[in-house]
Symmetry: D2
Subunit: 359 residues, 4 copies
Amino acid sequence: MVVVMAPEATESDIEEIVDLVNAAGGEAFVSRGVSRTIIGLVGDVEQFGALNLRSYPGVSDVVRISVPYKLVSREHHPNRSVITVGGVPIGPGHLTVIAGPCTVETAEQTLAAARMAQTAGASVLRGGAFKPRTSPYAFQGLGEAGLRILADVRAETGLPVVTEVIDPASVDLVSSYADMLQVGTRSMQNFALLQAVGSANKPVLLKRGMNATIEEWLMAAEYIAQRGNLDIVLCERGIRTFETATRNTLDISAVPVAQRLSHLPVIIDPSHSGGRRDLVLPLSRAAVAVGADGIIVDVHPHPAAAMCDGDQALTGEDIRDLAEMAATLPQLLGRTLTPAPRPVTGAAKLPTGLDASLV
Amino acid sequence: MVVVMAPEATESDIEEIVDLVNAAGGEAFVSRGVSRTIIGLVGDVEQFGALNLRSYPGVSDVVRISVPYKLVSREHHPNRSVITVGGVPIGPGHLTVIAGPCTVETAEQTLAAARMAQTAGASVLRGGAFKPRTSPYAFQGLGEAGLRILADVRAETGLPVVTEVIDPASVDLVSSYADMLQVGTRSMQNFALLQAVGSANKPVLLKRGMNATIEEWLMAAEYIAQRGNLDIVLCERGIRTFETATRNTLDISAVPVAQRLSHLPVIIDPSHSGGRRDLVLPLSRAAVAVGADGIIVDVHPHPAAAMCDGDQALTGEDIRDLAEMAATLPQLLGRTLTPAPRPVTGAAKLPTGLDASLV
Amino acid sequence: MVVVMAPEATESDIEEIVDLVNAAGGEAFVSRGVSRTIIGLVGDVEQFGALNLRSYPGVSDVVRISVPYKLVSREHHPNRSVITVGGVPIGPGHLTVIAGPCTVETAEQTLAAARMAQTAGASVLRGGAFKPRTSPYAFQGLGEAGLRILADVRAETGLPVVTEVIDPASVDLVSSYADMLQVGTRSMQNFALLQAVGSANKPVLLKRGMNATIEEWLMAAEYIAQRGNLDIVLCERGIRTFETATRNTLDISAVPVAQRLSHLPVIIDPSHSGGRRDLVLPLSRAAVAVGADGIIVDVHPHPAAAMCDGDQALTGEDIRDLAEMAATLPQLLGRTLTPAPRPVTGAAKLPTGLDASLV
Amino acid sequence: MVVVMAPEATESDIEEIVDLVNAAGGEAFVSRGVSRTIIGLVGDVEQFGALNLRSYPGVSDVVRISVPYKLVSREHHPNRSVITVGGVPIGPGHLTVIAGPCTVETAEQTLAAARMAQTAGASVLRGGAFKPRTSPYAFQGLGEAGLRILADVRAETGLPVVTEVIDPASVDLVSSYADMLQVGTRSMQNFALLQAVGSANKPVLLKRGMNATIEEWLMAAEYIAQRGNLDIVLCERGIRTFETATRNTLDISAVPVAQRLSHLPVIIDPSHSGGRRDLVLPLSRAAVAVGADGIIVDVHPHPAAAMCDGDQALTGEDIRDLAEMAATLPQLLGRTLTPAPRPVTGAAKLPTGLDASLV
């Protein structure tokens, strides 16, 4: 931490800061310049933060130097981590495709989407049962009924399931069905929720807040990690900017930046960032090429009938194009496409009455 | 709603849209231009939204025309509302000052801050007991002990209390102490929380998300209103932009814009937007001058010792300057400074051991 | 300047930096922390910048501490400046209203707008003859014919004239008619233009770039000052953010921030920031209240017939409201409304055929 | 164009708009909804724009539907264009690498950088002789001496040259040396410059303004095209957002979006967007994968000694990595790496005294 003194700071202003730092158990190194003096602080940053040094006379600015996160930082954990979701790895060396419907609507639609996901190269199924919607009048998801459908489709296809949790009170419920808990972009600084998923015994997919800096994103991960859960996958999904041609602006640079700062895997959501079907495939290719550890993509058997975000769901030929990309591009970049697990033989078969022959 | 057809759209593409709209119980008016055709939709917008019209062949864009909120809209409620908090009015004709410490630290500090607030012209006390902090290592507030201090200080001073609630699970607890529930900027799209405060029987101070458009802010208010609670005060507190000279960029235009769109009162937080003590007074004056219905300001008896945001808390002479502003500027703009209520005689006196003679 | 070493930096990495700094004539103060070392540099910042220290092994970051501008800085010129435009002062103690049409269309329209400006309390006339337009198909201004109209209206009304210059090649031409040269928001980093107006013998109104930080704005002013022209007035006119309810987001905090960093006067343009007539008056009040040294406002006798930005021009009753505000609010804040100068007797009367009796 | 009437608009308000549109030679289609009426306008949009319809009573909003550019639009020119620069193609089917030093410093440095560029797979040389710098105290480029060096290095290597022009007055000078004129990010709305390069007989590299929407970028291209020059290559180079971890945020989605809206080629600058050497290669891969028609990259023989942007210049092993990427990735995406042209035999050899044996 560096304290920048104002040009008009007096010698006693400087001494006061040095004394405060010493009293807090730190060391202060004074650099006296022609126009101003700076003081380098060595010691416990949290301690220094509590000193409110900016409030003292003669202080012009206080600049933090070190990163404020620890457990998720690469400084203390130089090797990048591989996280496992229902047996499926996400991390360096792998390229993992997660796909499925934005929202679970029916058993048939979800199974059909899961089959499309498999065709596209996916090894994990996504699907929303609890939906955070901007409008109170919009469809809010099937809730537990949706979770049950996801579990049935997992039994049928073998794909582990990631689904969003939007409220600390439902973390236990969602954990009882899902293989991975998703924290959505609007919840990235819902600290009660972060603590709750940090205590659940499941890997977490942490989407970046659409207004969050990379540092805040890593701090949100630190909240989860602090509760003992380091099975976190970061997901860049577009940030809010002045540009209105796309729903959000995919911050593709966030992938190498976050991978350098943190040991956690980083994936990209090309569907929600662009909000347009025609952007999903180019952005997926860019995601793989930039070095993302995976992508998460919306697919839907009948996008025009989708209850949420139908405009961006892949379908038909798109699926083949995605599959072709997934089959060729990762290996050029030293990664292996993560294969889909096989369904467990004898798994419970579709207790909700799903007729697989339909799809 | 307007559907914009692509230049290459065929006649049957246009007919398909018209048929869909008719089938959904709406009417479609076709305007055929030289280069493209647009179709105006009349009827239930929610219905049309579910049609995913953007997914149909020949459709280039779908433009929403009407506002997506109803209960908080001024269209259906032309007169601006006055909300009452523990007897204190907020709304047109009034200028209400809310002040207090960012965080409740001790009974002494809170009472001292409340006395400063009264001196500054405040009629409502603010103070945080549950603090949403970016870092899991930062002080997270006193919790219920903080709520108890706030209630004691209310008994001593007569000032009704607004305090933040960060989790649906603690809405009942906070409601049992507070006169008004604050939903913070990071929680503006915590929909479970919005629904919970919508069901609590308390007025709500809804801070704008630092990344939220005015429309999203009003949609968040609609969530609360939809649960039956229309006692909502909107609070602009700065948005996130590229400018780093201030913590956030106070969007002062949001006040007249939101007041035109919604009947709810709108106030400004000059402390958190700027994040710097020297900006609080100029921004407070600007807030009153632009037509805000109130301001909410951090004060602290010893900012350098504050556990949170000490850099922005007013103290000493600032208090007198704020008081002078509050005494003169509102009346020039046709508003009356809301007087502070008097303490109820015989109210419970400081059961937490607060020694008022100290302050 | 502070060099932050990476945790893995070696002792010889640190020594290399110290040697480079010493060789460049500076001093290096090393603060060795537990997790990382920082080096404070004392000396000539420009020299250090040329060292590309960030390129050296073991360097994690280089943080600039001091401001990069000098001539416009308040550090070297503590008292805020008053700039004079055709005898009219702009700066501390004064509140100067500049008003007029966005675009000069005809002599009659310009004179009528100038009379409205006077009624509203203006002492300087604005009006565009060279218009920077986003579309090549939009009206680009009358050019020199517009400048002649402005000069005629000045002769008739006595109001000094500020008008935009968009090209270094036309600085001489515009200077031969105008009392003050405006550099528009899109030209703020047109460095050739900044240098040209820096060499012209006229005061300059420097609008902030809609994407410019306050520091970049002051650097643009430094370009002008470096050529010997310190008669610069800064104008905040809204920045580009994600919010679309207003054309731009007026950064009202920029006024006190820029006034603290620079000795130059700072005014606000409430017309172009909001882009809506109904926002002009509230934002004008906020501008005065926050401490701006003036405002610049669009007025038009017939906004619906305006060739540019008719949506935001004040007219009719708005003018009276603005006049009332200008007559009352500044004095509450310790400022005097700058009176309009009187026309010089015997000044050339309307050689373009302007018939003043029409208006 | 669609006019949205306010809920309180009267029948005569609606008729007035219809009459105005008819009088302007257009047609108005009225859609009467329950809560509001919309009017679809068919005819000449420029005409309608001049009507200032937003200023009329009862009008709530005016929404433009069609795009405001024509010559660069894909609507009127469905096939994407290939632009040729000194014989080198840029456009669909090709992947063109442009590389070179940010700034021309010496003949030796420029030739060495050009050799590095060739090694990396480049077929066009970049290099700045006129530098737009935020600080008036920073190095502003060698000017014509730099242009001469570029021409010499072209003669030596065969690489055509793209270099920036920052002032209309120097367009002729720069055109006499360069094969392609670059309009930089800060000049994107320097309309006098756009018109000047539109009249020069050279292809133009138009960088996106760091604050410009894609639509504004295409409007800037339209300015150039309107002067008769359609040889324009668009270059995305990062936009300004709240994120500070990178210098700017590369808007990778802008490539497919702009390619869909315009027939012009679109390339990416991975060096200036990230501002960090370690991001250049991942972003280059992402650029190729997303479908960009090329990349433009900074290289420097001795980055630590660079006079500008040394932090981002590739050198040493990076060059080999870039070459390997350029050799493998384009063909996977159906593109051919554009080969470098050979030097013309007998071309003037290094009249500035450049000693090629040095490099």
